[in-house]
Amino acid sequence: MKDKYLLKKDHLLPLLRKLKKTYRLIAPVRNTHGDTLFTAIDRLDEVRIDLDKQPQNSLKQFFFPQQEVLFTYDNPAGDSYHFQPVVEESPPSLYFGVRPCDLSAVLYMDVVFLKDAKDPSYLQKRQNSILVGLNCNDPFASCFCNVTRSGPFIDFGFDLQLTDLGDRFLVEFDRSRGQEIITSWQQFFAPAGEADVKAQYQSFLEARGKFSLQVHLDQAVRKLALGEVPESVWEELSMRCQDCGGCAYICPTCTCFTIHDLQTSDHAGERLRSWDACTFSGFTRMAGGHNPVDRQMRGIEKRFRHKLQFDVKKDNRPSCVGCGRCVNICFGGTDIVRFINMTCCENS
């Protein structure tokens, strides 16, 4: 088959070892405590790459760190004020084992950070990235990418994409950088045959049948668009939200941030950008104390409307990729799945 290749599983580690010479390698690593995180790998032999568990972090923190310095300033006397951009060149990085949900999230972040104004820090990191995807044969317990249409398989957005076919991976590429890798390291890749492509499709069909959550996303989207979500749902949510911000921080597509100055001496400081959550009351409170949004009532509402109503209106798709990371982590039990289900059963 044209443009489709096979990579023996036995050859994966040797390939990564080669790629690591050119790129900083970031892959899901199972640490000694039992957590799996996307980790920048120093020594391939000292870590355990884990393709069986969902990494608890997404790629968000690599392209849009929790906290970063935008620039430094100094103001030695009142009559001068200088700004010095912080140039932090991110090395060419290869992200390996990126699931379709996380890949979709990166594509969403591209829209936020690069569509109109081009965020320099994001752009720099994104331009230096190679995304090697991994289709999901076995969705995890909290996954619902089938209803957000961002998985379990994806056919665009990656540089290289792997599908597990047992003892081998089917390898596809979407962009020239992916093709370059295949060309440069052709000893690892053999052309795929029609049977392999059929096997891939079979995996896809089977994967679609393996989701355990029932999430009626379309119905919730429709009700939001029509303004049919009962006030009682918002009331229940606002009562339950404990204001931790965790849903936004853990979400691969939540990109709200705040900017503030950190004074480092009498006459100098840094301007920092850090993650923020639209559920916080300080997110909208203006200088002087006036707040156009009542957090108590509307904090969590804003977030769900943004993801399932406003982004759908704007881009015709929700900004939830169904990765399930927020499911069951809410202190008050109001994750997006719970919200969708509440919305759907309220009518009946």
Binding site: D79, Y81, R273, M286
Partner: protein
Amino acid sequence: MPSQSKDLYLPRPAEIREVIEENSQIKTFALSFIDREYQDRFSYAPGQFLMVSVPHCGEAPISVSSTPVSGGAIHLSVRRAGRLTAAMHGMRKGDVVGLRGPYGRPFPMAELAGRDLLFVAGGIGLAPLRSVINTCLAAGHGRRITILYGSRTPSDIAFKADLTSWGETANVSCLLTVDRAEPGWQGEVGLVTALLAQCRLEPDDAKALLCGPPMMIRAVLAELAERGFADEDIITTMERHMKCGVGICRHCHMDDKLVCRDGPVFTLQELKQLKVMELLG
């Protein structure tokens, strides 16, 4: 003048040329970029805003209150509200702040030409409208201009020089009112809506521009609707907490709109599509 990508968030130093004390709460700062060449190239349109940096205080959006004239000083009228504006009020001629911008969708100046214009402002709300009025007058706007301005007390009346000069212009009528009179005040006392009742308006051929506190906006909107103004002929500006100014950070969201990018200037028609607190009782 969108900046290049690499310095999207990087302010440029600008020197305070003059500080005009409008009232006890509002000061107007006349600024120009220290980089002369940049200053000469810099342009903006009425209704746009700049992100102003003050050392250790971060940034705040401030709308431009001057008329864009090539190389001319940029006026920012600042009401003391939080930490940054308080620090700015302590600054003097020769001090330096950081500026980036201009940002936001300006007033539709082309649509204003050839129409009667009604300006209704309260307090600091006159700042962005001042930029529009002076720009219209500089362009030789020939139609009738009505300016209604409400302040809390006579000593809170800001932009006095402008108000005087507008009052002396042939096709401009300028009416003031205060919430509370002080000794010596001969003028009106009451809400701006009362002034509105005195005005002759031709809603079919006029545009109304309002800017002020939400309470005032709501009252004026009700009155204008009654007088037959169409929603698309009523234009106002929205104020929100902002961080990036360039449509990324989402602090200034109003439903699917962002005030920094889709506003701050909106027609009533646009606002009615949104759940906007200022319009809801």
